[in-house]
């Protein structure tokens, strides 16, 4: 298959007939005529393709070689142009479509956000919209510096931002501000207290005076390391207590589930309705409101006309699918699923190791109660600012 650029030059398919048609191929190659897709039909007949502009040269060589040349087909080139020129309506339509497509590339039809991690994409888009940049904006008229200032005023979490426009697709690149590290005065008093109750196993005090000792049972909030120090001469000074206190801790977590679960099950025939969105204008291809229908799941899918990542057009096709459902009794109670969730919760809460754990399953009326009991070892030291 020939490339489009080749087809624009015009391609001719020929049949060559003569005593020794391969001789014509040799002569053509020597004259710089490009030939391809040649096919020998028999000892005296060849089929070959070449560019339309080189046909007169080949015809001249054929006469010299005593061969006959017959044109079988023409693709593209002048012949195609002639055919198009015979249809002015098609030409006008094509020109209008090209003009519209060219004009549409000066407007933004799709906005994407990159670099937003802690700040949500929707917030960046809203800030852009409030600053006068969004779907339908005429991008050559956008001053990036002004836009940056406006957006950064609205989003103080940003350190920098810019908008790159490619075709009709805009990408807002944002760089979030790095949080300033917590600053503290080393001479300001702070104590270490227990974040939860437990049995102290080991203490590592880097600054401050220990207020508890290994083997001692402490309750939540109890002082572990004091920031109030007394020297041998009786002089008092205040420090910021630092250190770690490893203690055995015990957890009890409960999960309560109903004995019977209600699940959605598809019921009836799903219905679909469609809409076209041109920029910000929506044309519903149905009668009635867009409110959700009771007892139906509403699933919306949108297709934007264009090439993904290259360019977008303002036209979007929206499909709303309504799937009716009924509520029925679902699967049986699964203690395994509850146990997995409880264990995940425990792992998130413990700042150390889980030494052992066990589950007990019980039933209370219509409810299942699953209990997780765990024995852990963790650092329970928590900083408390100010004097104790």
């Amino acid at each position: 298959m020939e490339r489009i650029s080749d087809q624009l030059r015009g391609i001719v398919a020929l049949e060559i007939f003569g005593a020794f048609p391969a001789g014509l191929l040799n002569a053509a190659a020597a004259e710089g005529v490009e030939l391809w897709n040649s096919e020998s039909r028999d000892a005296n007949t060849l089929r070959v393709r070449l560019f339309e502009a080189q046909l007169p040269t080949l015809e001249r060589l054929a006469r010299r070689a005593g061969c006959e040349v017959r044109v079988l087909d023409r693709v593209g080139g002048r012949e195609a142009l002639r055919r198009v020129l015979r249809r002015p309506g098609l030409l006008i339509g094509l020109a209008a479509a090209l003009l519209l497509l060219t004009l549409s590339t000066f407007f933004v039809w799709d906005v994407d956000v990159r670099g937003a991690e802690s700040i949500s994409r929707a917030r960046v888009l809203r800030a852009l919209e409030d600053s006068g940049f969004g779907v339908g904006s005429f991008w050559p008229g956008v001053n990036t510096d002004v836009l940056r200032s406006r957006v950064m005023l609205r989003l103080p979490e940003l350190a920098w931002m810019t908008v790159n426009v490619s075709g009709s697709r805009a990408v807002a690149v944002v760089v979030e501000r790095t949080e300033k590290p917590e600053m503290y005065d080393a001479r300001e008093r702070a104590d270490l207290v227990a974040s939860r109750g437990g049995l102290i196993r080991h203490m590592n005090v880097l600054a401050g005076a220990p207020a508890a000792e290994p083997g001692q049972i402490v309750a939540e909030g109890e002082l572990l390391v004091s920031g109030d120090l007394e020297s041998l001469t009786g002089e008092r000074r205040e420090v910021r207590a630092r250190g770690s206190v490893m203690a055995d801790t015990w957890y009890e977590l409960n999960a309560v589930c109903p004995a019977e679960e209600l699940l959605k099950t598809p019921k009836g025939v799903p219905r679909s309705r469609y809409a076209l969105v041109f920029g910000k204008r929506r044309v519903n291809l149905y009668i009635g409101s867009g409110k959700p229908i009771d007892g139906c799941d509403k699933i919306i899918t949108e297709h934007t006309l264009g090439l993904d990542g290259l360019f977008s057009t303002p036209l979007r096709f929206v499909r709303e699918r309504f799937v009716p459902y009924g509520l029925g009794s679902g699967g049986d109670y699964s203690p395994e699923a509850s146990a997995r969730r409880l264990y995940a919760l425990l792992e998130d809460g413990v700042e150390g190791q889980i030494l052992s754990f066990s589950f007990t399953d019980g039933r209370s009326g219509e409810l299942h109660v699953l209990t997780l009991r765990a024995h852990c070892t963790e650092n329970i030291a928590r900083l408390r600012e100010g004097s104790g």
Binding site: L25, A29, A30, L35, S38, A43, L46
Partner: protein, 90 residues
């Protein structure tokens, strides 16, 4: 009587030069028996779907097979496609 020496070939061998650089020497690159690139060709001597013979001046290459076609051609090269069964230098 001493045999006629192939002086250019002998010179190329002594100077450790690739033989395909010598005038009248062709080069054939076969790709899986379905495609052949012939370089240094001076002209097609025979062209049928079963047989294509190519001249290099001093040498001749004959490719035999089925459905042989010249896919592309210019003054020095030929790209041949089809099921190539034998290649014979003469």
């Amino acid at each position: 009587m001493k045999a006629t020496r192939d002086l250019p070939a002998e010179l190329a061998e002594r100077l450790d030069l690739p033989e395909e650089l010598l005038p009248g020497r062709g080069r054939l690159t076969l790709d899986g028996g379905r495609q052949a690139l012939v370089e240094g060709q001076r002209g097609i001597l025979e062209y049928t779907p079963e047989r294509i013979a190519v001249s290099f001046g001093r040498e001749k290459l004959t490719l035999s097979g089925d459905g042989l076609r010249i896919k592309a051609m210019n003054a020095g090269e030929l790209l041949i496609t089809g099921r190539i069964r034998t290649a014979e230098w003469g």
